[in-house]
Symmetry: C2
């Protein structure tokens, strides 16, 4: 039996690595260093237990794997020695027709010699051959590239040496067989199936059930056939020269950086193309050298729920690929401590676990191999984990004094937090995905297909309903409330369906362009799938977190807000500078947002309040009225409803500020299209049907987004905004007097583009307030402000701030107008734009800092210059996007407002922004 | 016979008044000077022949009338002496509850004494009473205010004095009668009808045909009845105190500044509210004192055609109001020289004419009175004149060395120039205006009503057609070409109908909201006019210069470009810095624009080229194609058409640059809506009808203005822009080779919002050009540039200029997105906005310099920083608006591009901008 690797010294002194906070997604492109011919660049970094040229922080140069091995080496953990070819070499290789700088080969050769000296073995030597693994390792974990070649260094001669040395011919031949197969497939691109077929046929012929049953003779025969395949497929004899083997493998890794899968993955994940991959070459250790050998993967804590316990699996007498192949079932790592030959190894592992967590200050995902009673750590990396686990681990680590509270806050990806609030598809179930749309509102839901908002009421008597429409409009809001999930063919991440669904916390998939809805037959087909036909009442499941649409009922898992979550959010609140408010108008949503930590309502969209059936008729009468008097009569009927709505919100918010946005959409959005609805108006208003129809026709707009809406309606029909002013102020007075709480109400005027507009409306409101407000001004505090949602408003912010006491950036509209991009129509090409790199990300999801962001900066600067105590908020959909929250912090806003389910996301993002800022 | 006014000295020395250029419309608001109690402000300015406190340049303080009188006094012209109460007093009066500063009354009293001394008469004295006229006079001529009270100072006693003095009781009594009537009506607001009725009744009773037939007795009786009316209506006896008479009249003038008519007029004409009116009080002279007396109005040149000749009318033995009343027909002023008692007066008038033109350097509109052989000039002002006259007069005055070329250029209102190019309604005809819309495209046209673009072809066989629709769309362009005029119910000054019509030079009235079109019955009614019903084929006339719609056929006058016009335009070209290009795509338009002086095509909208019937079907096939291959096949069929179009344009422009804007509108604009059109596509493409219908449905957009259009189409379907690149470049090569001219072609990419978009498209074009262009690069010069028509493009101009070789500001879209205002929908409230002062002017007509203008400035600054030789142009509709042209000059653009008929407007405006800049 041979000890391939010398004993590693027991770690005594752990070098201290300082914690440097970095954005969870921050990957910056390294500038490519193109060497000259007389280059002295260090391209190769060695490591071995106790020594390393690099350190754990050099991820961008050494890749994740290389940096982890350097760190472990410096921690004197038992890593098989090796060396890493740096990422900048990958760029050089790509940019220089797949050639290397002159001195790279020398540096690699020197390192091979070092490994030979360390191990007492020789690369390519028949008696004690040095065997190597070659792996890729980019700065960011990235599937799609060439992965691993093991057992490199074996050839017809060294295999004999290995057999002799280990006194195990079968092991040596099996290793050779695996090497040819892996090298042939991974390096030379030979179809794996060709090798598998030979293996399969041979096993059948020899009557072997598993690979282990194959004898040396069997393996010998298989090797011969493998070599044949290699020859046929590549035109080459199987490569016997070990240096050539090595360089073929290294080349293959670097080439794979630019294969299609890798490129696509980088695009999808916003990873720059020029960060490159490193290659790590490491001495082989074997977990398949008998029952004192083993291989395994462990997480230092449970990555699923965060419990502080070893979590993982191992297999005795096996190589890593055996675990993947699934032929033998791996054992739970906990069992390892009670196995007589493994107990000691388990103890050592737990010791390393403490060292690694202490060093990396994070949960680790470790690969290890036991070779004949000796434990080696092959790899360590920060473990992927569920959102639940991430929160628990971060909070636990603070208790364990591994992390500070601030470090813990930076450990959680704010995006992931919303997962904690929504039900999720049970990952153990089998999914039949029938199509995919945009993940518009997170969470999973199952229910009966229903093709019309009007039918949801009746169908929901029979069970859960999924509303499926071309797109939704404000008239559908009632039906959307009733539905458990929403699926639309059209519309992007910020379409009406998406925005309303997120506000409600209802899962939604939008822009599922492949579905075809036949409203007459009440059925649905999928483009490209002729067999599937779903009818009204059929059960489907949607996953608003992934955009997947599934046939049938899927099991879901309910959310459970942990104590750790509350603790983390408490830390976030203590750290952040921004106030987090919510976009909500129903008592349910307002209540929910408050539970999730909102400190006020930043956007109460009053138009949503007019769609209930008892109000919409009055609203329509108002709109169709032919003079101001009749309009006022209808408005008088609406006042009690509106006042009652506001009273409820003020009561729930109990003193937190409430921002009421006055009527914003074009009036025609409230008008009926169906004949029977028109008849109803004829009946209730006594107006002539033809007159109504003409009026309906006359109110249509070519581009309603840019039409008679927002403050323009308030200016043309002043009585509408006066009604809303009165309802707001009266509600505030009543709640203040009844409940003895101080009510703070911000009246927000939408779609301002000129100073004169806000000046006129502010004057009207102030005059009304003068009449209504009690002498004691303390109980009700009101302000008048504007949405800044048009480029012109941003540019004119200095003049507008003369009259506006606060600004709230309506970044949905501001994005639409800055880009000239309707969010309802963007879905037809925005994906394509992202894929080909015209834009980095959907600007309706994450704020476009270059364009829209500059307008915000201009407005802030000019607004504050006019009015130093100007209140500044952002209330677009981007208010729940962490990067956008950071931007808001950076430009000095006071608050962001987002849909209730995103409030915790924004709280955490705001805390992180404050920490980055320190 | 009484000489009321002493002889004025003959003018010998004319004070030199320097010429100061000012924008034709520049009226700046004067800041209101609110005096304290111990105020020494001079509120009253005196004048008399040879002396004046003020000067002719003090219009804003003295009003137009007061300044003119001051100027004439200083020129020692024979003006009746008087004094002027300044405009700031009007503001004081308005802001201080209709009171005056303490010392005003004293200043007036002092002036009255001066007048008494000058004339040897006494105000209110029985023997030689001083009689006065009181007139309003704002800095800008402004109807709507109180105009004139004559004969003030008459009462029951002074009338006797006047009778004695003049030995003419009838004259004195008639003057008193007129005074009571005028004072009662104008100052006290008594209905004029009441007085007229008395006069009428009396004349009937006494059997008098005209006023002149009334005797002293008759007049005495009338005066008594007038006094009765005065008492009944006001509750006061007719005022006998002459000071009270005077202050009542002055108050009435100041009050009238804020009457409804005056306010409305100011709003409509963008006149600030705080400039105020002056009041001029002047000694009376009488043209009705026998046959050696007369009154008249003359223009120093013909205001209609500009001929250098006296033009006007006079009446012997009459007061000004008699001319207006129309009882006697005035005589042509030319006749005056041959009347024995008037010949000398005529010679004097012609002498004054030279003095006044020399002084004011402009044609004058003069009121004069001859009182018993003595000539008085009562008023002079710059004469209103037709556009034709303005041009001729300005050019003539240069020849006469009254003006320099530069002064002449500044004399013409560029807005008026387009009148010269279009036929106009004959002003002598009687107009039956049935409704009014927006003056969308100048010129007049008559023809048969036609309610569908599709029907124009057939109807035009029978005569001229006026197309009348709700609104127009690109599909209607063919029908619009055939029509002589266009009338739409919806759409603003920059709606599709307006833009296309202006481009074609076809008269158009848009947004005529009061018309109701019944497409089924093919008839038209007018809201509020139940009697009128117009059917298809009925003749109407539209005046696109005024927005008026008239019933029946109106005579029109054809344009005739004068030699003077060409001369003026030549001077303009020598003066201006901006290049004037045109927005045109048909050979007809391009040719016309060149004739009007365009130095290139600044915007060739290629989409307009696809609507002809032989092309639209191919276009539709292309759009409905289900893959790039089929798209390319259709595009291959389009290339020859497009190339031929471009060749024609290059040939006409003969070396001037041509800017080709690639496809801009959303593709669905090209798609059919009618069943039969869809059938045609089914037939020609072989596609399934259901598939086509689904595709049509899927392509609909909520806000097409912000959808998949412009470069987005070019990025998603690269083959479309490649076809257009190829057609442009091949056409350029062919024309260059065939005609041996150097072709300069600018390929313009619309709707850019990110750097990446232009980068991608530029690269594609450059690659294609590399293949196509001949080795000799001199003959064809091409550039790739962008429209800057989105706020984000303006902000990102620095990055975009890395790839764009020129910018053209698309201020239609830039205005839409900066304001969040769809030009198709704006008409529903933009008028209201203008009326209540929310905006000064329609930003689609005249550039919004505060908002859109700032974006342009930002883009210019950032673009030029990146690329110092960046070519800068503006090609929105505002390119033909003089104020906008001035802005373009001021911010350093190199060119503006406008519709052909506006090219001369822009040339002149550009010259004026250059002159203001000196």
């Amino acid at each position: 039996m041979t000890q391939i690797i010398p004993n590693a010294p027991t770690p005594t002194h752990l070098p201290k690595v300082s914690f440097s906070p970095s954005s969870p997604k921050s990957v910056t492109s390294t500038s490519v260093n193109i060497p000259t011919k007389t280059d002295h660049t260090k391209w190769v970094y060695s490591f071995s237990a106790g020594n390393a040229d690099g350190t754990g922080t050099m991820k961008s140069l050494l890749g994740g794997k290389g940096a982890g091995l350097a760190a472990m080496s410096l921690l004197s953990l038992p890593v098989p020695p090796g060396f890493t070819l740096v990422t900048s070499l990958c760029n050089y290789f790509s940019l220089n027709n797949q050639t290397y700088p002159p001195n790279v080969k020398d540096q690699v050769a020197e390192n091979i010699v070092s490994l030979e000296n360390l191990t007492g073995r020789t690369f390519g030597n028949e008696s004690k051959p040095l065997l190597l693994s070659v792996r890729s390792g980019a700065p960011i974990s990235m599937p799609g590239m060439m992965d691993t070649v093991l057992n490199l260094g074996l050839n017809d001669k060294t295999v004999i040496g290995l057999a002799k040395e280990t006194c195990n011919e079968r092991f040596a031949l099996d290793s050779y067989r695996r090497f040819i197969q892996m090298f042939g497939n991974v390096v030379m691109g030979i179809d794996m199936g060709l090798f598998e077929k030979v293996l399969h046929t041979k096993k059948e012929r020899y009557g072997c059930k598993t690979d282990i049953d194959l004898t040396s003779e069997h393996l010998q025969a298989i090797i011969e056939e493998y070599k044949e395949i290699f020859k046929t497929q590549t035109g080459l004899d199987f490569i016997q020269d070990v240096d050539t083997q090595l360089w073929f493998a290294v080349n293959a890794v670097f080439k794979s950086w630019n294969n299609d899968r890798a490129i696509t993955y980088r695009k999808l994940n916003n990873i720059p193309n020029d960060i490159g991959t490193a290659v790590t070459v490491q001495c082989m250790v074997f977990g398949n050298m008998g029952n004192t050998s083993a291989t395994g993967v462990v997480f230092t804590r449970n990555p699923s729920d965060g419990t502080n316990e070893f979590y993982g699996e191992y297999l005795v007498n096996a190589q890593g690929e055996d675990v993947v192949a699934g032929i033998r079932t791996p054992k739970n790592i906990q069992l390892m401590q009670s196995e007589p030959e493994m107990g000691e190894m388990y103890l050592e592992l737990t010791r390393f676990r403490t060292i690694l967590e202490g060093h990396f200050k994070d949960v680790q995902d470790i690969e290890f191999t036991v070779q004949q009673g000796k434990l080696y750590i092959l790899q360590t990396r920060n473990a992927k984990r569920s959102a639940t686990a991430a929160v628990k681990i971060a909070v636990d680590m603070v208790a364990e004094e591994i992390l500070t509270e601030q470090e813990a806050l930076l450990r959680i990806d704010p995006h992931s937090v919303s997962q904690l609030l929504h039900p999720a598809i049970d990952p153990t179930g089998k999914k039949i995905v029938i199509t995919k749309g945009l993940p518009a509102s997170p969470g999973a839901a199952s229910g009966m297909l229903c093709f019309s908002a009007a039918d949801t009421d009746e169908m929901s008597q029979r069970g859960n309903v999924i509303l499926c429409t071309e797109e939704t409009s404000p008239e559908d809001v009632h039906g959307m409330h009733i539905s458990k999930g929403i699926l639309t063919k059209r519309g992007g991440m910020t379409s009406h369906a998406a925005v309303v669904a997120r506000g409600m916390g209802t899962p939604a998939v939008t822009g599922a362009g492949n579905i075809n809805i036949d409203l007459n037959k009440k059925q649905l087909t999928i483009i490209g799938n002729d067999e599937l036909l779903l009818k009204e009442g059929d059960i489907i499941t949607i996953d608003g977190s992934t955009g997947e649409v599934m046939n049938g009922l899927m099991k879901t898992i309910d959310p459970d807000l942990s104590l750790e979550f509350e603790t983390l959010m408490q830390w976030a609140d203590n750290t952040k500078k921004l106030d987090i408010l919510t976009n909500a108008e129903t008592p349910l949503d307002v209540q929910r947002a408050k539970r999730f930590g909102a400190k006020g309502v930043g956007l109460c969209r009053t138009e949503h309040m007019f769609f209930q059936s008892d109000r919409i008729t009055i609203m329509r009468e108002m709109i169709l009225a032919n003079n101001a008097d009749n309009r006022r009569k209808a408005l008088d009927k609406l006042i009690p409803f509106q006042r009652e709505d506001f009273k409820q919100i003020f009561s729930i918010m109990n003193g937190y500020p409430v921002t009421i946005r006055f009527l914003d959409p074009p009036l025609h959005e409230f008008l009926p299209e169906k004949e029977e609805e028109i008849d109803q108006i004829v009946k209730s208003s006594g107006m002539d049907k033809d007159v109504i129809k003409k009026k309906l026709n006359g109110m249509k707009e070519a581009n309603p987004m840019l039409g008679l809406r927002g403050c323009r309606v308030g200016i043309v029909y002043p009585e509408i905004y006066l009604m809303q002013s009165r309802a707001s102020l009266e509600a505030a007075i009543q709640v203040a007097e009844e409940s003895k709480i101080e009510v703070e109400v911000d009246l927000m005027i939408p779609f301002i583009s000129t100073e004169e507009e806000i000046k006129i409306i502010k004057k009207q409101i102030d005059e009304l307030a003068e009449k209504l407000l009690p002498k004691d001004k303390r109980l009700v505090k009101y302000r008048v402000g504007t949405m800044i949602e048009l480029p012109r408003a941003a540019l004119q912010a200095g003049a507008i701030a003369k009259h506006a006491q606060f600004f709230s950036f309506g970044t949905n509209d501001l994005t639409q107008t800055c880009f000239g991009l309707s969010r309802d129509d963007a879905s037809s090409f925005i994906d394509h734009y992202e894929n080909i790199g015209v834009i980095d990300k959907d600007p309706f999801v994450s704020l476009d800092t270059d364009g829209v962001g500059e307008l915000i900066k201009i407005a802030v600067e000019r607004g504050v210059k006019t009015r130093s105590d100007l209140k500044l908020c952002l209330c677009g959909e981007q208010g729940g996007d962490p990067e956008s929250v950071k931007f808001c912090h950076d430009v000095g806003l006071h608050a962001v407002s987002c849909s209730p389910f995103l409030v915790p996301v924004a709280r955490l993002a705001a805390a992180q922004a404050a920490l980055f800022d320190q």
